[in-house]
């Protein structure tokens, strides 16, 4: 097994062990395990390693190295454990040798007394249960409550504080009978309520605030040297004033800057801080803490970037439970951890949704207010209007003229003096366009293809989620009027309306195809790959009847395409995931086996899967993903598909693992996104 295949195998095993494998991938993984003894051996090896890892880290946990002050950081603790475990290992070896000598001397079996005691107890429990059953006695069931999850201390503190803030707010609202609250009053009440916090939380909070203050002061000293705006003179004066002793505690820290798009323009993207009657402006930088009262402004996009329609993300803020992506020319004021004022620009908010716990978020714009918990949405303020598009969850969109409740895939607009419009379906992919620009986290793939590679964001022609009936969609094909979807959940084809995404019709493949995977439209019939039968079958979409079946000598994967006379079928992971075959549909002969060289994808980092084939205007497209970043690739041509080698690569936005692609016959690509539920977008074929 070569190193690439080994890596892919390890990736699959790990995905299975951590529980991140869908039904389709599981099926392929099962096939791989059934076929290869080496794969099974590796599977067993990594499973044992998993237990080893658990035991090692539990040892660290139980030794309480994190809390007793012996180790300053996790790394220190791990080093100590590694050292002590090595010493333990040496001691054990010595002990084993001594025992071996002792065994030779008297042939007695040595078992550690503690081990005997522990196991004897276990045996006695077993015998008790066994005898109890034998004697007809009731068997006692001992229910051991699992240890409740330990929340992040920072989170617990903030949660605790948030509770107190709410109480304080309610109290003040009672006192002031509806009068607007002054921040100072609120801060005072919160300060008064600090003693009510858990002692541990209070100490931890004080320590954390102290550390963060120190870190921020250090940053401020560095930042003061940077020439940021024309307000330098004023700022410098104000900086000098900061040396005066502070009379009130600094505002609460509510988050940090997680990402800044471009170091060169970061000086133009500023954070304005107005604590202690002073205003300071500082360039945004990764790791900079954000406090209540801070205002974040992003710069105007570069002309060059606008010309290429490449609109990079300017900054990402991590507000402890809310991820906030800011586009260019955006201004946001942090009112509290879960309250923002937005005066202009565009944001994409992702509020944590953790089942029973959903992060609350309220945003006020000039035209409306947004209230939600645990949802994802995009907000745009433009010309006195506020546009809201919801990606997931529920969002209340209101102003004093009216209120709308938006669910996923709905959009609405509110103007100053106008109630929010009735929700309508998301059109032209507004969520995609503005909310998820490229290189959010600068992952491996982004780096690999940065420079000279076009960005496909900002040009989505259609976007919708797969209907609820379509579970585990694996492939798609477009016949000119209907977008056909196959799933691994049942032998069925689903035909969707390409403009609304609504289910138009279905074709039952029971008795025709056992496990449908890839799909391809050849201009007159729909080809369906059958993973179990190792065949491809042509279906008449008018009648739903099979026209022809071609038996293959390999297991077809989920990717198929047609150039109208030949069929291109990818091989499954168990054969060779990088290869696909050109098949003459008239006689079923394999004309060529084409392989995308593994080394052309090495730049994408480990764990890359190749999904999708689409033949567009004489060029074959493929997609690759490492489940975080995805790329679209064109393959070399010489009048047809040459040999499978990669010609160009185009970065897709992050967090959009591609599951499959197909053509719409007009030079655009339908992309099936591996989200839950699956999403389909239509984009023009990317160009340099």
């Amino acid at each position: 097994m070569d190193s690439q295949a080994q890596l892919q195998l390890d990736e699959s095993i790990i995905a299975y062990l951590v529980g991140d494998m869908d039904a389709h991938a599981l099926k392929e993984f099962e096939e791989l395990l059934s076929a290869s003894e080496a794969a099974r051996h590796r599977f067993a090896e990594l499973s044992v390693q998993e237990v080893n890892l658990h035991q090692t880290l539990s040892l660290i946990q139980s030794s309480q190295l994190f809390s007793d002050g012996n180790a300053a950081t996790t790394s220190d603790a791990l080093k100590i454990v590694a050292k002590s475990a090595s010493a333990e290992s040496r001691r054990r070896k010595f002990s084993q040798r001594r025992r071996a000598l002792s065994r030779r001397a008297d042939s007695n079996v040595f078992v550690h007394p503690l081990a005997i005691a522990g196991m004897a107890a276990l045996v006695l429990i077993g015998v008790f249960l066994f005898e109890g059953r034998e004697n007809g006695l009731p068997i006692r069931t001992v229910v051991i409550q699992p240890k409740p999850p330990q929340p992040d201390p920072r989170y617990a503190i903030r949660h605790d504080l948030a509770q107190h803030e709410q109480t304080a707010r309610r109290e003040l609202e009672k006192r002031e009978a509806g009068q607007p609250l002054a921040q100072e009053q609120l801060a005072q009440v919160k300060k008064e309520q600090l003693p009510a916090l858990q002692p541990d939380n209070r100490t931890a909070l004080e320590e954390m605030q102290k550390r963060e203050r120190e870190a921020e002061d250090e940053f401020a000293r560095e930042a003061s040297a940077v020439d940021v705006t024309q307000n330098d003179a004023r700022d410098n004066n104000e900086e000098r004033q900061t040396t005066e002793p502070k009379t009130s505690p600094p505002p609460e820290i509510v988050g940090e800057v997680a990402f800044v798009a471009d170091a060169n323009t970061s000086a133009a993207q500023v954070l304005v801080r107005g604590d202690d009657r002073k205003v300071r402006r500082m360039p945004l930088s990764k790791g900079l803490t954000i406090r209540v009262g801070d205002q974040i402004e992003t710069a105007k996009a570069e002309k060059a970037a606008r010309a290429s329609e490449d609109r990079p993300l300017h900054a990402t803020l991590d507000l402890y439970g809310v991820r906030l992506n800011l586009a260019d020319e955006t201004r946001v004021l942090v009112v509290a951890n879960d309250k923002l004022d937005m005066s202009k620009g565009q944001i994409y908010a992702d509020a944590a949704d953790f089942g029973s716990y959903k992060k609350n978020l309220a945003i006020r714009t000039p035209a409306a207010r947004i209230e939600t918990s645990g949802s994802r949405f995009e907000l745009r303020c433009e010309s006195g209007q506020t546009f809201l598009s919801v990606a997931s969850g529920n969002v209340t969109f209101a102003n004093k003229f009216g209120e709308q409740n938006l669910i996923a895939q709905r959009t609405s607009v509110a103007g100053i003096g106008c109630a929010p419009s009735a929700p309508s379906g998301v059109v032209n992919g507004t969520i995609w366009t503005n909310g998820k620009p490229n290189a959010v986290t600068g992952g491996a793939a982004s780096k690999a293809v940065a420079g000279g590679v076009a960005n496909v964001a900002n040009r989505v022609l259609a976007e919708f989620l797969a209907p609820a009936e379509v579970l585990a969609a694996a492939a798609c094909a477009y016949d000119g009027s209907v977008l056909w979807i196959s799933t691994t959940s049942k032998p069925m084809l689903y035909g969707l309306d390409p403009t609304t995404g609504r289910l138009q019709r279905t074709i039952d493949l029971n008795g025709i195809v056992r496990l449908p995977v890839g799909l391809a439209w050849d201009g007159s019939q729909l080809w369906v790959g059958d993973m179990i039968a190792r065949a491809v079958c042509a279906i008449d979409i008018a009648t739903g009847k099979p026209i022809k079946t071609i038996q293959l000598n390999f297991t077809p994967g989920a990717s198929m395409a047609s150039d109208r006379s030949n069929l291109y079928v990818s091989q499954s992971i168990s054969d060779n995931a990088m290869a696909f075959c050109k098949i003459d549909t008239t006689d079923g002969h394999i004309l060529a086996t084409l392989t995308t060289p593994a080394n052309s994808l090495q730049k994408l980092g480990p764990g890359v899967f190749v999904w999708g084939l689409a033949y567009v205007d004489g060029v074959m497209w493929r997609a690759a993903t490492n489940n975080k970043s995805s790329v679209l690739m064109t393959l070399e041509t010489d009048g047809g598909v040459k040999d499978g080698s990669v010609m160009d690569m185009f970065q897709m936005p992050d967090d959009a693992p591609i599951r499959n692609i197909t053509t719409d016959g007009k030079g655009n690509l339908w992309v099936l996104i591996s989200s839950n539920p699956r999403k389909l977008i239509l984009i023009p074929k990317p160009q340099k």
Binding site: D10, I14, Y16, L17, V18, G19, D20, A23, E30, L33, S34, R40, H41, F43, A44, L46, S47, V48, Q49, E50, V51, N52, L53, H54, Q55, T56, L57, S58, L59, Q61, T74, S75, L78, K79, V81, A82, A85, S86, R92, V109, A115, L122, V123, I125, G126, V127, L129, P146, K147, P149, Q150, D152, G321, R323, A352, F354, G607, N627, K628, D655
Partner: protein, 178 residues
């Protein structure tokens, strides 16, 4: 053989197989707490059935079969059967776990190497790995704690786990050269 001798023998057998049993159970139930419960159930079965199985030549296979049945039962109870390999494949895989028994030692060396490898991960990966393996949190719980999406937690976890596998391999090779 007296009762006390039996007990010592059971302890010896079980200690030898414990890690493999737990690993096999984990591969089925995907949850370390459940895998530990299954391991205990297997220990009880071994103790109760000892008289009839003590002399079996295929004790390893028998233990792994008991593990598989108990784990599948547990998996079904917990509603995780959808993401578990089919019974036929698990049976095939079981043979390889048998082979692991002889290579699975007490684990102190492995633990030392693993701890060193975890120490080399970047901070966020360490945090996720620790939350997953030491605190046995689900990816959803970890995502809520660190304020990231569930999918990104899965990505971090898989990347970290892959790096641990590679680091562990290197260390093993280094150790064998010494």
């Amino acid at each position: 053989m007296s009762d006390s001798q039996d007990q010592i023998k059971i302890v010896q057998v079980f200690t030898r197989y414990q890690r493999t049993i737990q690993a096999y159970a984990y591969a089925i139930v995907h949850d370390m707490h459940l895998a530990e419960d299954v391991t205990q159930e297997v220990a009880i079965v071994l103790a109760t059935e000892w008289q009839s199985v003590a002399e079996r030549e295929d004790l390893t296979s028998w233990l792994l079969e008991v593990t598989r049945r108990k784990a599948l039962e547990s998996s079904r109870r917990s509603g995780r059967s959808a993401v578990t390999l089919s019974e036929e494949v698990l049976e095939q895989v079981g043979d390889q776990f048998s082979a692991q028994v002889s290579t699975t030692g007490t684990g102190s060396e492995d633990s030392a190497m693993m701890a060193e490898c975890v120490g080399r991960l970047v901070r966020v990966s360490q945090r996720v790995v620790h939350a997953r393996y030491a605190e046995s949190l689900t990816c959803e719980e970890i995502a809520a704690q660190i304020g990231r999406s569930v999918q990104s937690v899965y990505s971090i976890l898989k990347r970290a786990r892959l790096m641990l596998v590679q680091c562990f391999e290197r260390k093993r090779i280094e150790l064998s050269k010494r």
